[in-house]
């Protein structure tokens, strides 16, 4: 079933939130990971609240707000958020307080804001939204779980569903992940640097001329490159799409992990099929596929020009079908087909 995308908004390392400047100029990252380029939050969030919110909450509230405003939706009929690590900043802060204070008297603020569903909960609170409210935290399929649930909710007749992906990084989390060997060299700009950000969408059943839609999504775990090929073929066949119909491949390629999966997928398409490695923009993180869906939607909707030298796919025009392929550490594989 089609999930029509009324609107989308994202914050990532590059400028995507201010749509008048959408990916216009390359922002060279500072520091060791791809830190999000955050907008000024005043004017979007009540200044009294801004101070108390962690960055993942601010990024999520701002992008949710923009998506809802563009869709002209006041109160969504469901809020579903995917986040792999959740509110890691407040988690680390509270843990530090416990350890340094040797379990002494603690302020509960960081604990209160540390749970994964703080994001969806805060959005509901700000919107006074009493409806269905879910949070998925499933590694490289956190956003996928959310989208699959959103499709069920749409099929049950709910409309205007707010779906989002959110992740935040900070120095301490980065250092741990660096020591775990989870990140490549950000200077290489090969998609292996860790990133962060938020991407939100308003999904609807309502078809409209020129409105992009998620045609289908397919997920699998722990498969071989051969099984992946089969899985792609059946995914395309199920959707009556030929490889040559795909105008753009949005790939989660990450040079840090040479694993043959992305090469396999690329080999199944004609050489002149444009390919864009979206992690060069948003970095590697559990919910990077959420950003891919955002970028794909923007390309379909506005036929966004991607003239930047660091992106540079030669796009056939108009772009009508985009295939997203991503995998997280060869465990969680995802296909999403976006169409207009």
């Amino acid at each position: 079933m089609r999930a029509y995308i009324k609107s989308t908004s994202a914050i990532c390392a590059q400028q995507t939130f201010d749509k008048s400047e959408y990916l216009a100029e390359y922002i060279a990252p500072e520091g060791q990971y791809l830190k999000a380029t955050e907008p000024p939050y005043r004017g979007i969030i009540d200044p009294k609240q801004i101070r108390r919110m962690s960055r993942i909450i601010k990024m999520s509230v701002a992008t949710a707000h923009q998506a809802l405003a563009e869709a002209e939706v006041q109160v969504p009929e469901a809020i579903i958020v995917g986040t792999g690590l959740g509110c890691i900043e407040d988690t680390i802060k509270f843990l530090k307080d416990i350890i340094e204070g040797e379990e002494g008297i603690l302020s509960p603020t960081a604990f209160i804001q540390s749970t994964h569903n703080t994001i969806a909960g805060q959005i509901a609170l700000l919107l006074q939204c009493p409806n269905y409210n879910f949070t998925y935290a499933n590694r490289g399929h956190s956003f996928e779980n959310s989208v699959i649930d959103a499709r069920i909710q749409l099929s049950e007749g709910k409309d205007n569903i707010l779906v989002g992906a959110a992740e935040e990084m900070n120095l301490q989390a980065f250092e741990i992940m660096y020591n775990m060997g989870c990140t490549g060299d950000r200077n290489k700009n090969d998609g292996s640097a860790l990133g962060e950000g938020a991407s939100f969408f308003v999904l609807t059943n309502e078809q409209k001329e020129g409105r992009p839609y998620l045609q289908d999504i397919s997920v699998s775990n722990h498969i071989t490159a051969e099984q992946l090929e089969k899985s792609l073929n059946s995914f395309l066949a199920k959707n009556k799409v030929d490889a040559s119909d795909v105008d753009l491949l949005l790939m989660g390629s990450n040079e840090f992990e040479k694993d043959g999966f992305y090469e396999k997928i690329a080999s199944l398409f004609a050489d002149n099929t444009p390919q864009l490695d979206f992690k060069k923009i948003c970095g590697e993180h559990f919910t990077a596929s959420g950003f891919a869906m955002h970028l794909g939607t923007m390309i379909l909707q506005d036929q966004v020009s991607l003239n930047n030298s660091y992106l540079a796919p030669q796009l056939k025009r108009p772009v009508r079908k985009i295939l997203i392929y991503n995998h997280y550490k060869a465990m969680n594989h995802t296909f999403m087909l976006l169409s207009i």
């Binding site: 379990e103 994964h116 559990f286």
Partner: protein, 397 residues
Amino acid sequence: MSKRVFISGYGIISALGFDAGQNRNALKNLKPGIGKPNFLKTRQEVVVGEVDASNEQLTDMAALNGASNISRTALLGLIATKEAIQMAGLNKDTLIGTGLLNGTSVGGMDISERAFGKVLNGQSVDYKASFAGHDCGHSTQFIVENLGVKGYNGTISTACSSSANTLMHGANLIKSSQLDCVIAGGTDALSMFTLNGFNSLKILDSEWCRPFDQNRMGLNLGEGAAFLVLESEEHLKARNGKALAELIGYGNANDAYHQTASSPDGKGAFNAIKTAMEVAAVKPEQISYINAHGTGTANNDQSESLALQTIFGKNMPPYSSTKAFTGHTLGAAGGIEAVFSVMAIEQQVLLPSLNVKQPMDIIAAPNKEYKSAKVETVLSNSFGFGGNCSSLIFAQV
């Protein structure tokens, strides 16, 4: 969306015991599992519902030879899912197409919090072994890999309603024909992080908790895991499985009142229960027993009582909170109480509340005995931080 969703097996591990039989006996004998922690290292003077086994013993129980540094969350989850599969009689081939949904609030925090202390103190740490299991999705992946479950999997983290939500989502996946069989539930281990978190909120009772008592002082934390096998009618018939109960209704709503506290009038709870009853197409007088969220905090029990009063009025069915037995097991609570709800149907009994000396003045006293009754339909509530309110309704088949 008229497909029926049956429960064909369950597994449970909690402070009451390592399997379903031990848990049932503890309920029957009014024997709570709350006491001083033996395995959780903390300076806090508390009583908790701890699973009575070390990590090494749990590793053996899960038949993982010599594995180390695995979070209790993952271990408890694996033990409970194995029992559920065995009870349902799912074979290896069936597991390939089976899905798994896991609800957890802090995932592998019990391991990573210790390692993080070492990082802060400049001690050497094996980063991969210490932190690779931190995220919530790790326990899910660990469980599916060890079970050979190859179907769709998901992890829900909505604080204390996490595993109630996995059951709701599991039912949705079956009703929308995306899965025929799904193991759904949740797991959470005690951790220094959550213990100090609830302590900082000043909602821990240092003695045994007293849900629905006028003078209740707060909750006791617990740990555990429980998973239920959900199946479509066709799938169950095709493999000659036996239905133990049916999941007939579910509702999720957001209280949209406060990040941690429940609204005084229980608006979110009311909406969740109301939706669940609409989905189940049952009237208030058809509910035989309520397994309440009943944490024992002033705020929750007040809010939940008012929601129940609004729904049921004078026809208030017998209700109780089993948290005085198990402690509040957070992400696992919805699964554990779903298992208790199914047990109440199987055994045709009402489950007891404990430690109630003076009932609240706004609601009739909870049921305090393990006693026989006609139990056709059970409502189970789970409410959490972030305003998350979930209700499930189980029925006799």
